[in-house]
Every structure is written in C-alpha cells, then in structure tokens.
Amino acid sequence: MASSRPLLMASPRIPSSHDFQSISTLNDLLKPASTDFNNPFESSVNSESIVHSSSRRTGTSYQRRASASNSVREMNFGDLGSRSVSYGSNRVESEGFGTSQKEINDEDARLIYINDPAKTNAKYEFSNNSIRTSKYSVISFLPRNLFEQFHRVAYIYFLLIAILNQLPQLAVFGRGASILPLAFVLFVSAIKDAYEDLRRHRSDRVENNRLASVLVNGRFQMKKWKHIQVGEIIKVPSDQSLPCDIVLLSTSDQTGVAYVQTINIDGESNLKTRYAKQETLLKNPEKEKISGFIKCEKPNRNIYGFLANMEIDGKKMPLGPTNVILRGCELKNTEWAIGVVVYAGRETKAMLNSSGAPSKRSRLETQMNREIILLSLFLVVLCTIVSTLFGIWLARHKDELNTLPYYRKKTFAGGKEEDYNYYGLAPEIFFTFLMSVIVFQIMIPISLYISMELVRVGQSYFMVRDDDMYDEASHSRFQCRALNINEDLGQIKYVFSDKTGTLTENKMEFKCASIYGADYSSGAACEKVGYTVQVDGQVLRPKMKVKVDPGLERLAKSGKGTHEGKCIHDFFVALAACNTIVPILTDSNDPTVRLIDYQGESPDEQALVYAAAAYGFMLLERTSGHIDIDVLGERLRFDVLGLHEFDSDRKRMSVVLRCPDNIVKVFVKGADTTMFSLINKSLNLDVIHATEAHIQKYSSHGLRTLVIGMRELNGPEFEQWQSSYEASSTALMGRAAKLHQVASSVEKNLTILGASGIEDKLQQGVPEAIESLRIAGIKVWVLTGDKQETAISIGYSSKLLTGEMTQIIINSSRKESCRRRLQEALDMLRNCTRSSRPVALITDGTSLVYILDSELEEELFLLASECAVVMCCRVAPLQKAGIVALIKNRTDDMTLAIGDGANDVSMIQVADVGVGISGQEGRQAVMASDFAVGQFRFLVPLLFVHGHWNYQRMGYLILYNFYRNSVFVLLMFWYTLFTDYTLTTAITEWSSMLYSVIYTSFPTIAVGILDKDLSRRTLLRYPQLYRPGQREDCYNPKLFWITMVDTLWQSLVVYFIPLAAYWKTTIDGSSLGDLWTLVVVCLVNLHLAMDVVRWNWIMHVVIWGSIFATIICLIIIDAIPFLPGYWAVFHIAGTASFWLCLLAVPIAGIIPRFVVKILSQFLCPDDIQIAREAEKFGHLIGRGGSEIEMNRSSNPLRRQMS
C-alpha cells in the first residue's frame, strides 16, 4: 500500500482526473473510427452502434480490456487535456487514429537499450527513479508557498495595502499592525502546508529507499528504488509493487502471463493480465545476456496506452499496453516477473497522473464575489468622499496652513524654512485617498476567506462523522473530497443518476436463460447449489453459489445427445469461455476443498461464469493459449485461437476456440441490438423470435440481457481468418482498426444459442430516497447505459416512474423523426398543462446523438424541463456529460451527478456537484467526485440535512461578515468626518486589526459550523424544506441590500450615541476609541446572538467569550505605556456615561432588525420558521412526506432526543 501514495494522496481534489477523462473519451474516440473502417453493413447500423451496449457493465469493463487481451488499441490522446469534447458522437473525425497510422518518429521516441543503462542514458538524461511529491524544500518553502498563497486575489489586495502602508507618506498604521492580519492568515496556511509537505517528504524518503532487485553484472542485486535507471532489468517478486514502469520480459508462468492489481492506479481491485512476449519468454537474463532495444513513445499520462517496438536478436515486435506493468501496480499470483525499465521516477505514468485538477467553486462563493465587487465600490466611494472633502478643506485653508497649530505646513528644523510633509494639493488628495483605502481596508473582509475555509473544514468533519451516512455493508464512510463546495449541496435542483451500481447494487446474479428458444427462468424458486468437481484429489468449488433451474440442470447434465442438449452444452461453453475471467484458486477452511474465485473486470461476466460452473461447466484455468473447462466432470482443453475484445461500437466480444473435437468455433456474446443483426436469419426464425420475446420479457423484469451466438468455422474460413488475425494483431500501426475488421469478418451468420438474464438488485432505500428528492423539488434524471425496457422497469421499481405518468418516448434513429417526436411531445405538453399529470420523458442514446449539439437541443431542453422524470437509456459516458451540460448551460440551476463507474466520471466532472458511490466498480468515480457516499440513499441526508445546513450557515456567514466589517468601516468613516478628513483613528490600530481576527471571528465560525436552523428529523420529514436553498433564500442581492441598510443604521447608532454623550467633555481620543470598540463588538455579537437558533454551550462560550476577549485585549493594549492610549479604558470605564452607552447602543442598534425579524416571522412566516416552531411546540402532525428510515442501526439515543 505504500505505493498508493502518489495517486491516492489526500488532496482535496483528485490527483489524476485526466486519466479518467481518458477513459471516458475512449468510447468517443473509437466511435468515429468505426465509420471509417467499417464495412458497409456496419455502417448501416452505425446509428445503433453508437449507443452503448445493453449491458453497460459488460461494456465498460470490456472497453478496458485493452489491457487484458493480446491486441492493442491505439488512439490519439493528444487532445485529452482539453475539455472541448463533442457530446453527440456522430461528428466523425478520424483523428482518433492519427498516430496509429504512422511509425513512432525518432524524435518522438526514446530508445532503451535493454540491460544497458549506461548506453540508454548516454544521449538523453532520462530521469532516475527517485520521486518527489513534496512541493517544497527547506529553501524553496518560503518563496514558493507565498507565491502559491498569493494566487488569491484577496491576498494580493491586502499585500498591496500593507505595502502602501509602508510608504512614509501613507503610514496610517504602524508597520506591525498593518501586516498583522495578512501575516496571520499567511502564517496559518503556511503552517498547514508545511505540515502536509513534511508528511510528503517522509513518504517520499520511504518510497525512494525501498529496495528492488536489479540485474547488475549478470546477477540480481538489491538496489534502492531511487537508484534504478531506465534500461535496467528488474525482477519483481509476488505481492510486491512495481518501482517503475517496465516492459515484461518473462514471468514465472510458462506462457508469460503476469497478474497485476492496478488498484493504486485506477482503483480497480480485480486482477488484470499482462503478457511477456514469446520471444523473450524463455530467456533468463542471469544466464544469457539479452541484447536489443525498445523504441517507445515519450512519457505520457495515458495509463491505458503504450506504443513501442522491441527489437531483440534482430527480430522486431510490437509492444502494447498489455506488455507493460506500471509503477504502483502490485504483482499477484505470479511468483516473479522480469522486465526492463522504460519509464522511471517522475516520468512514470502513475506520477504523471498525480497532478491536481482545478477545483470547483461554489455557487455561493461566485455570488459572493459579486457583492464583494459592490463592497469595493462602496470602499471607493467612501475613500473618494474623504479625499474630496480633504481637498476642499486644504484649498479653503491654504493660507492658514502655516499657522494652524495642528497642521504647521512649514518646518524650521534645518535652520531654513521648508515645507514639511506637504506635497501640494493634488498629491495630498491622492495620498489621502490611498490612506483611506488603508484605513477602510477591512471593507473587503479578509477574514471571510479564511473563515469560510475553516467553516468548510468543520462542516466536512461533521459530514464525515455522520452516523447516518455510514455504509454498514461496505464499511465506508462519507468522504468529502472537495472542500470548496459544501454549500452547493443545499441548492441542488437536478440530480443526474447513473442506474447500475447507483440505484442498483451492481451485484449481478444470473437469473434465467433462454436457450435455443426455450425459456428457463424458474431458478429463482430453487435453493442455491454449490457445484463441485474433483480434481487431483481435491474438491474444487466455485466461491459463489447460484440458484439453478432444475429443468435446465437436468437437461445440461443429460449430455449432448439431443439437439437441445447440444445447444445447452454450447451455450454454457460460451458462457464459460467467452470472457476474460481468470479463475484463481484459494484455500478454504476445509483442506480438501479449494475455492475457485473468478476474477474479472465485469460483474456480469463473473455472474455468467459462476452460473456456467453451477450447471457443470466449470472454468478451471485460463492462459493466453488455452482454457480448461471442467465439463460435467471431464476436464476439457480448448485452445484459444483468438479473442476479439469488446468495444463499444461492436458491443460484443468473441472468442475463437478450437474445441477438443478439433472443430473451430467462434463464440460471440453481446448486446441484442447488434447481435440480432449478425444472426443468420435463414435458420431457425422461430427460435430467434422466441429469444427476442424472452429478452423482451427479461428486460421488462429489469434484467440485463446478453445474446449468445456461435458459428463453426470451416477450414478455408478459419485459415483466412487466422492469417488476417495474425497479420493485424502484429501490425505495427492501425492495429485496432484492422482487428476490428477481422472481428467483423467472423462475427456474422451466427447461430443463435440463447440469451441470459442477469439481475441487478435495487439498492436499499432507493425508492424512498427518490420520492423524497421529488418532494423536495429536485428533478431526478436517470442516465443509464442499459436498455430502455430495463431502465423503465427499474424506473417503476424505484418509484421514479409511476402509473399515473404520461410517458413520452423518443427513440428514433433519424434526425427528422427525432425532430417530429420532439415537436409532438412539446405540443402535447402545451395542450395538457392544465391537467397536472406528470410527464416522463424517456429517450435513448441514438436519439441523443441527433439531438445534442444540434438545433434540437433547445427543444429537448424545453421538453425535459417540463418533465417530472427524464430517463436516458443507452447513453455513452460523454453523452451523460452532454446531458448534464445541457441543463447546466441553459439554466442557473445547480446540478448534481451521482454515479459509481468509470463511465460516470465525465458527468461527475461536468456537474456542479459530483458524487461518487464507492461501490463495486472500482474507484474512478470516487476519485473524480467531490463527495463520495456508500449508497444512493445517503443523498437524502447529504442534501436535505447537511446540504441545507451548510447552505444556510454559509449564506448567513457571508452576510454577517459583510455586515460586521462594514459596520466597523462606517464607524471609522464617520469619525474621519470629525477629524478634518485626516484619517486619524480613535480606535487603536491594533484593535482595528484584531477586530476581524479576534474580536468577532470565532462566533461566526462557530455559527458557520454548528448552528442548525432545523433538526435533522424535521428536515428529513419535510423534504420540502430543501426548497429555500434552491430558491437562494439565504443569500441573495435583496438580503445583501437589507443587510447594508441595517449596517448603515447600526453604524450611525454606534458612532453617534457615544459621540453625543461625550460631546463637549474632556474625553480623549483613545478613551472614546475604546468605548467605540467595545460597543461595536457588543453590538455585532448581540446581533449574531439574536440570529443563533441553537444555543449549546459552544455558542455561549464563543459569543460571550469574544466580548470578554475584546475586553482583555483592550486592557492589554491600554497597559502598554508608550502607546498614546495608556490606561484609557480604565478611565472611561470609570464614567457613568460609558456604561449607559454600553447598554443603550446595542439595544438601539438592534431594534430595527429585531422588529423586522419578528414581524416577518409572525405575519409572513416561511416554512423554516413554521417548522422550527412546530419542532419546539410539538405540532408535527401533518406529514409532508414519507419519513425515511435512514440507518437501521441508528442509535436509540438519537430517536429519543430529537
């Protein structure tokens, strides 16, 4: 796990988002190619083939199969960095194959001489294998950290002000005081950064000093990781992680297979296979010297691509991604592997992928910036007023300036008469302007930024710690990956959900099969059967038990005497063989029994193989050359002649096997849409029809279906295929396209064997959660790769669709018909808006191809925004993103995308808030997400409880920060008008700096983290209470202006009451300043106290504590004898007026707001107010929505309490 560090580093955003993008773009890049290379037949179905497979799960996993087969997929990743992707996928461009058509240019390649690091590194200095994830060194820390911190505009503003203040003409504050707040903020962040970096340094050191066995002078010796060089040969034992990217030379396996776990790179826990080339397989580098070189592409971050040639003993061979093992992978189930280092250190793909991604910004913060601009305008206005008045005063008194005792323009110090600190009218006005900016600087609240950060950290602490979002099943907590958008959770209007793995559990279970026109679907009624076989005196048993259909089981066991039995036999052989599952034997508790664990990348395939095993067709061994299947107790060996991996436009995979009886067969498994067009319709038409009917039935039950077909290859056919297969799989360039053609040439005229139905169970609590979301006014859209029927049936079972809904279905394969359908639907909607029947829109990926990115997009948007439910079936990952973008670009509504798989990554990244489900399908979605939850139903507490709280707290925090800083600035502004516009501050400079740092900041942070307007229970009971967030009720321009008016009033009260009380007295500036400080602190804290909803002990401590802290600070400041205000606070506290002011000001200041508050609460209460009253007085009778039992094991304490 140590090597997980580079990729799984605790950074707020995912470090390696780009490679996820590469996954999601994969489909799209391939699609255009298909139209170029397909035969006419393929082109004619192209419109269909663009949509994703019926079983998307199989789809995505196959698509990653690039790494698990012998073939290589080349693609151009040059444009991966850019996000300008075309969402509709029929923009045909063939650039996807750009690079594959040409040789690797010499200048684009690096030459690696195997086992000759000196020569390899002679010409180019390849980076060595030491890595540095730490950002700073001791020397560079200060400048670099400061540089990074000053990326924030606000900090630059404060820095400029601090610099201005250093100019002697402008020195309003003492040097120390002026830098204090900025220094404080910088210091806190720097400490945080330094601590994080220290940890990185430590782990770097550990990582760099790990040992690996490296071939030196013909013998393997241990060497520190950091000393490994490109070109060296290393040997990796089992269960060790790779120190760098290597090209496999040989492994302990005879066939050169190595199994690796890539969990640190892409998060997938399944084993993947990597292959050594035949030519190097048998060489033992300790005995004979391997000489040759590898020519490979420059280091890049694409973890799914590798393009190289290897020349050994004069023989040239291509290398693909299946021949390399990347740094960070772990070798599993292989005793050892030997490889040559191609990329080391920071040039490894893992390290290249660990750069951060730009972080999102919350809606509230964007809006806040709008008001910050307004505040800066206010600031400019205030400064202009001051400087103008000062200019007028100067102009009017210009004759007196010399004699004014408090001005004294001239000095005689040097013996001669000269102007002292007077630079003429215009410069004086200008300086005054700058000085007033310095004095009024906190109009732009510096502390707000750091408060917001602290508050978000606090909020995420509580979100992560929330019992209600802890998933018992997977033991996963809520994760807060993005720290910037907590409050966005309270404003969501659209939820885009993936289906499989998100709404459903993605635990696949084989349910039923249709074999040669006969339906076997009574398995559900039976007990689970654990089929076992006896091999070499040991009992082998599949790890998972499957329910079997007794009839089918009987037929299967009866052998292939009958035609029916033969079909069943072929069907199960296809299930067992046509996949990329690797059986792994593990020990069980019983020493005589070993368990077979089928490891693979797709849960569908696993389910199918387990099912085949249960019916007696147990996959025992898979190598690159053959498959061993135990067929009803007899171990049969099938030679694998070729494997056409899955891709998303063929939507099928096939395997060419030589059966034990020497017949060559091709087995094809794929989505019904593409499969039926490949089936030889002249044979068994009724079987085809029956199968179609069965598939219809299965998918209407919400099952995922796959069609299985087969064809025997006769001699000439086989030879033709084999020669072209070999030619294309060894082709240096354009390999994928050629293989594609070869695949199409055999995958035709198939005999139908049958179809399988796999169940994907709904997750716990999904229907209830969806209903709550709907009540809350959130539109739930389901975007799935599944078939329309499957999607609709899941829609019903998850209560997304109800019987009373009108369904509008758009699935056409032509643009014109799409347009017509859309138009009809829109007309229909317009006509029946009176009736309140909700409308559901169901569309599919094919139609979306024509709609997105065209003028129909607008119509789709109009239609979709009227619909209560939208389901998009068979959509490709990028189309998912396109749909999210459709809403995001056309409305101001906040969007949330939730998904669990790699295919959801693009949509998660496009949406305002991306939520990943840490489920079955690896961790890409989680890595790309802003928040990660264990289950779909946790969206409900996440949005309704935490989102609501976060939004309401943050909205209040921002307004309050504006208010408290403006009050203070205005207070100083009023005083300026009484000091001849010369910006003397009665309040000491220290107090004015500490005001926003100490005097008033802690209560706001505490309120931002802890205050709750409503209890969790109420919020869950009434999902409607989520709507205020959607309507932006807690922060909007109106509230801002109200706050500002209130601020103006309060500042007048704060300033003028003490002023009038001490008018014509002996009061000195410092004393009055102390009084003002104390009064304003009391007032703003009282103001906060008035708005706090829940008073727990922390609130009491911080609010009263900060008033107390202010008093302490005032006393300390006034106890310093060389400050002018020495002892002032004690003197003024001795006068009765002081205490009278202290009582009168806060009360007079707060009355208007108080009156407005109670009037609005009483006369036009909002929902939150009523719910709060109901909470207190226990009138929770009328139930607004269904209450969701969120956590079964929840503490009884909680139930009693709230």
């Binding site: 826990s269 408090y406 001005y407 009665a986 009038a1060 500036g1069 002018p1124 609460q1161 709060r1172």
Partner: protein
C-alpha cells in the same frame, strides 16, 4: 478492500480492540452527541410572549434610567463664557491675528461671571476650544511617547517633526502637540478675594506615574523661531507638568474641553466671580473659539441631556412597540408551528378549493 485501510486511520485511533471484526467496525464513526451535532441546546423562539415582555422590560429599565440621567444633568450648574472676541480690545477687532501675535499688546482681560445657582465644590474649571482639531492626524502623530517617558529616549524625536530638534539638540517635549500647549491663564476672585485654583488631580494618575517621566525635564522647549504656546519651567520634571499632561491627552473631537483646575469651595448663587484672563493663545488664525467653563458634575458627568433623552426615546419606543405587538397578536393571531401554514400545505389547500 485494503485500499480503504488508509482512510480509516481517523476512526482507528481510539479503539484498542484487536479483533478483526472490531477493527473493521471501528471505521464507523463513533457516536457522540458532538459529532452528530446533537449537543443539548436551547432553541429560543421569539414567541409573542417573549417579544412583548422583552420590549416591556427594556422600556421599564430605560425610562427610569433616562429620567435619572436627565435629572442629574439638570442639577449640574454650568457657566460657559466665550471670551476670544470680547477679550480683544476694540481697536484690534479687525486684525485679531496681529493682536495675538504681537508681544506688545496687553493680553490681560477682565470678566465678571454670575453664578446662576449654587455650585457645590469641587467646581471644575475647563477651557473649551472649538474648531481645534486636536485629532488631526498630522498633529496627533507629532509626539514621542518614548521621549516623554524616559530620559534615555531623549533623542527619540523622529516622529516629532516639525518640532523635533533645535539645530541638533532635541526638543523636550518634542512635537506639535507639546509645542501648541494652551497658554491662557485664569485667575478667579470672589468679592476681591482670590479663589484658589487647585491643579491637584487634574491629570490622570496613570499618566503622571508611567507616561511622563519624573527624570525628564523640558529642554530647548519653545525657544525656536515660532512660539506655539506655553513655555515650561525647565526645572520641573514632565511628570509634574500637569497642564502639559492634560494637553497631551489629545481630544477625541474638534470641540473639546480640558481641565484647567478645580475650585475647592462652594460658589453661592448670584455671586459674581471676577476672572482675570491672560488671553495668549492664538485661536484667531484658524477661527477657533475659546470658552471658559465652570461646572459642577453629577454621576453622569457634566451637563449633557443627550443620554437621558436617548434613554427615554428608546424606552418609550419599546413600550410603544410592545403595545403595537399586543395589538398585532390580538387582531391577527397565528398559532405557532401550525403545519397548515407550511407553503406546500397551503398550496394544496388552495388547489383543493
């Protein structure tokens, strides 16, 4: 699943249990009222009862305080007399600045003030300046607190320009503030019997003790080309120069009073006090006003009705608000926390109708 191990460290910290099951479960956040944000809390709601009683309470407190403050202010007897014009001989009225700057003119001025009501001792004597910006930034900054405090920092005059040094010698006390020290003097007599003006305790004790050094003596003060105000006896340490100390506490506002001294005897009503004023201080060049003020004090300080009026206003307003709210609650009652007022319930009610 071991990739999750890394993230669970936070939860593992406290658990000492070694069994694997417990280890796995330790990822579950430990329940505490704090982490679940369920700390016991008071949830005050502004019910009509609370609101009305709060207003009444404020009214009940504020009105008596206001009355007390007003009556205290009423009892204060204050005599204020502006003398800057009247003390200038009529020939110089046209050219006030020339009069005050000239060393030859007679600056002595006689005044008679009548005591309107009995003034109990101590009677405070203030000089009142108007339009004198003692809070002007240029002025306020022109001082050296270190120099005032200790002899060691005698040369610490960098902040004192334009009155920092005389040639190379430092001016003590330096700066504009000290330079412009007020130098009008008053002598009082009642019935030809002079009244003693006590300077005791007119300056802050804290200033005398800590801020103005007892080893710091005036030096080179007020001997430059431009005389700003009073001269200081260079044999008396700064800590004893109470007038300077009072003056150096710069006023907060452009209109201010400063304590000149105290009269420690009662003044009877209708007594005539004759004052001999040495009218030295130049307020004419900037149109400032000078007043002589004699005043008694009360617990609220001097004569100032403002706080009393403010308290009465706020108190009255609160009582008025209390009554208005009672009316609102009577005429437009709303049961608190009635779910039928919830917006969605209202909407559905409207639809049903």
């Amino acid at each position: 699943m071991n990739q999750k191990g890394g993230t669970s460290s936070a939860g593992n910290g406290g658990s000492k249990s070694s069994s694997s099951a417990a280890n796995r479960n330790s990822k579950k956040p430990k329940y505490s009222r704090f982490t679940q944000q369920e700390l016991p809390a008071c949830k005050p709601i502004l019910t009509p009862g609370w609101v009305i009683s709060a207003f009444i309470a404020v009214g009940v407190v504020f009105i008596p305080v206001g009355l007390a403050s007003l009556s205290a202010s009423e009892r204060v007897v204050e005599i204020a007399y502006r003398y800057d014009r009247t003390c200038v001989p009529p020939d110089y009225r046209k050219n006030l600045v020339a009069y005050i700057q000239s060393t030859e003119t007679n600056k002595t001025c006689l005044l008679n003030l009548t005591v309107p009501k009995q003034m109990k001792h101590p009677v405070y004597i203030y000089y009142h300046l108007d339009n004198f910006y003692q809070n002007h930034r240029r002025y306020v900054k022109s001082r050296s607190d270190k120099q005032l405090r200790s002899r060691e920092y005698e040369r610490d005059t960098s902040s004192c320009a334009p009155e920092a040094t005389l040639g190379n010698a430092p001016i003590v006390p330096c700066g504009l503030v000290a330079w412009s020290l007020f130098n009008d003097t008053y002598q009082f007599s009642v019935n030809d019997k002079s009244l003693k003006v006590s300077k005791k305790d007119i300056a802050w004790k804290s200033d005398q003790k800590r801020k103005f050094g007892s080893d710091v003596y005036p030096k080179n003060f007020q001997i430059g080309g431009l005389i700003g105000g009073a001269k200081l006896n260079s044999s008396i340490p700064l800590s004893e120069q109470v007038d300077l100390i009072v003056w150096m506490r710069t006023a907060a506002l452009p209109t201010f009073r400063k304590l000149f001294g105290k009269i420690e005897v009662d003044l009877e009503a209708n007594q005539t006090i004759s004052v001999v004023i040495q009218n030295n201080y130049n307020t004419y060049s900037f149109g400032g006003k000078k007043k002589l003020v004699l005043s008694t004090t009360s617990w609220t300080g001097g004569k100032n009705d403002f706080l009393g009026i403010a308290y009465l206003t706020v108190g009255g307003l609160c009582l008025f608000l209390a009554i208005s709210f009672i009316l609102v609650y009577v005429f437009k009652p709303r049961p608190l926390g009635d779910p039928s007022y919830l917006s969605w319930n209202r909407n559905s009610a409207v639809q049903m109708n």
